[in-house]
């Protein structure tokens, strides 16, 4: 466009801050959101840099060092096979975060499709929302357990099961937002200038559903990480050969009397991660929901 001079762009940039500017604005509204974001960053960095942070192999057996309490060499102690709990917790973070992220991606993708279809067509809505209500009638963990029983224990199946369980939560949010957005004048305007249905959905409706979806997705990541931990703890989730937080806690259960640290530390990792995601979700909701913004 002709008027996009550097000065114009500067003004536009000032009026609409980038992602970083928005983030700081959000943190200033509620400082604890910054703590949540920092904790998530730390978890991701710790998981990524696990081999640099710890000299121990998370799976190799080292029986002479078995059941050592927390100390200088092993800050979180060792388990019954002499494996370093800190290393196992850090490598467990990789899996937990991976499952959390992929479940969220799957549930969000599927939820957006279902929600858009529901919001766009009353006929589809009647059928789809009954199905979503039906899925939501199951306690999360119980349905996930049932699905895992059929699919068999593996990382992929944990992601599929939890993704299925959490899809209705996104679908409902998207549907509710679509029903509001399609009545707005800018959608009517877009239709009047001849925009196609697909273009309206993508450019106008979907963009304006983004806020509630982002907020809900943050909470779903937290649920998914708790769900994965519960499934792995019960022995129906990720196979025990892969270190996971739930799996480490479960293995430590036998040694609760002599070596409680095996179960205690990975549990704290779960608590901190879920807490961080919930703090971030609350902060995002506060920041993105215009009804709350002026309250």
């Amino acid at each position: 466009m002709a008027q996009e001079t550097p000065a114009f762009r500067r003004i536009v940039r000032g009026a609409r801050p980038g992602a970083g500017g928005l983030f700081w604005r959000m943190v200033r509204r509620r400082r604890i959101t910054g703590v949540g974001a920092a904790l998530i960053f730390a978890a991701v960095a710790g998981a990524a840099a696990a081999p640099l942070l710890t000299p121990y192999d998370p799976v190799a057996l080292n029986v002479p060092d078995r059941l050592l309490g927390p100390g200088r060499a092993h800050p979180f102690g060792t388990d019954e096979f002499g494996r370093d709990i800190l290393s196992r917790t850090l490598y467990g973070a990789r899996l937990s975060l991976l499952v959390g992220a992929l479940v969220t991606l799957l549930a969000t993708g599927a939820g957006i499709v279902v929600g858009l279809a529901s919001g766009a067509s009353p006929r589809a809505d009647r059928v789809l929302m009954r199905i979503m209500d039906g899925i939501m009638a199951f306690p999360d963990v119980l349905l996930a357990i049932g699905l895992m029983a059929s699919l068999g224990p593996s990382v992929r199946n944990v992601i599929l099961s939890l993704g299925f369980v959490y899809t209705p939560r996104i679908a409902r949010v998207v549907r509710a937002a679509v029903l509001v957005v399609v009545r707005q004048e800018y959608v009517e305007a877009a239709r009047a200038v001849g925009a196609s249905g697909a273009r309206i959905l993508a450019r106008h409706v979907l963009i304006n559903c983004a806020s509630p979806v982002i907020v809900q997705a943050t909470f779903i990541t937290a649920y998914a990480m708790l769900g994965e931990a519960a499934l792995s703890f019960l022995g129906v989730g990720v196979p025990p050969t892969i270190p996971t937080w739930g799996g480490i806690i479960s293995a430590g259960q036998v040694y609760l009397r002599q070596a409680a640290w095996i179960s205690i530390f990975p549990g704290m990792a779960i608590i901190l991660s879920v807490l961080a995601l919930n703090l971030l979700g609350d902060g995002l909701r506060d920041f993105l929901d215009p009804r709350l913004r002026h309250a």
Binding site: R130, A229, V236, Q253, A260, I271
Partner: protein, 313 residues
């Protein structure tokens, strides 16, 4: 009331039908043939064929579903693959510990959640409020199984006050039974009090903003009476909904908590059945719990009618 009730009951039909379809399909999601999975790799094709026929797996899917649903509606959930006993009886046998645990856990959640929420609202923005909300935040992040293990370490291993695991039937003495259930109920109830804390707080704050509270204060009613007599009674009505929702979380959480404390409840039944791939039991438990959850939420909605005379359907 009657048209409302009929409408609500009719609305349940599609939801329960979806529940039934999902539960029915669980066995058909298995990669490969369930009969083959059950018999193992050494089975001859004839054996597999016989079992497929015995389980009805050789019929069309829709016919299988209709047959299964018809039996389920009559309370027949089939026979356990593993123990060859009726699933319905098996579930009923395991239900007492789960019911006891759920009731105790919801009591814990309410006994902590409502006072903490009330204190939070009365002393809004004070350190008491901040503390309650922090507790709620923490509660939502703690996995009940980890909390259970931590409670065992603290109260059973170190202090020796309570038994670390196991179950005593109420018939053996209610006191003993409750002692065994106390730690599991805390492990399950504490995380579930978060939602109740937050809901009580916001509900009470909403009510306090009403004109009749201002009127009560203006006519000189003491603050204590205003809060407990006028405000809290009204604030508690919407909390019923949360109790209904919490029940679902409890049933899911009970599965995990029972495993931690070796309680012979429905949760343990379902987990051991998953490990043995005993599909009829898994299906039966999940179907029963989901149905119960739907019915409890209906009951909660109907309770509004009894509790709050302003509610008219």
């Amino acid at each position: 009331m009657l048209p409302y009730l009929t409408g609500r009951l009719l609305a349940l039909v599609p939801v329960l039908l979806v529940v039934a379809v999902v539960v029915f399909l669980l066995i058909h999601l298995t990669p490969g043939d369930p009969a083959r999975v059950l018999l193992g790799q050494d089975a001859t094709p004839e054996q597999v064929q016989t079992l497929r026929h015995a389980l009805g797996l050789d019929r069309p899917l829709v016919a299988q579903f209709v047959l299964w649903l018809g039996r389920a509606l009559r309370g027949d959930l089939g026979l356990s693959f593993f123990q060859h006993v009726p699933v319905t009886g098996d579930i009923l046998q395991h239900s007492t510990p789960t019911i006891m645990l759920s009731l105790m856990a919801i009591s814990v959640a309410l006994l902590i959640g409502i006072p903490a929420g009330v204190i939070s609202a009365i002393f809004r923005n004070s350190w008491l409020d901040q503390g309650s909300l922090a507790l709620a935040m923490l509660g939502a992040a703690v996995p009940s199984f980890w909390l259970g293990l931590s409670l065992i370490v603290l109260f059973a291993v170190n202090l020796g006050w309570l038994p670390s695991s196991g179950y005593r039937a109420p018939a053996e003495g209610l006191g003993v039974s409750l002692r065994y259930l106390l730690l599991p109920a805390l492990a399950l109830g504490l995380p579930n009090s978060s939602l109740i804390i937050r809901f009580t707080r916001s509900s009470l704050l909403d009510v306090v903003a009403n004109d009749y509270i201002r009127t009560a204060r203006a006519k000189g009613v003491g603050e204590r009476t205003v809060i407990f007599h006028h405000a809290l009674r009204n604030a508690l009505v919407p909390i019923l909904t949360v109790v209904g929702l919490t029940f679902a979380a409890l049933m899911g959480g009970a599965v995990v908590t029972e495993t931690v404390f070796s309680l012979p409840g429905i949760g343990q039944l379902v987990v051991s059945s998953v490990l043995r791939r005993d599909y009829p039991v898994i299906q039966g438990v999940i179907l029963m719990v989901a149905t119960l959850y739907v019915l409890i939420n209906l009951l909660v909605d109907l309770l509004y009618f009894l509790i709050d005379p302003r509610v008219k359907y």
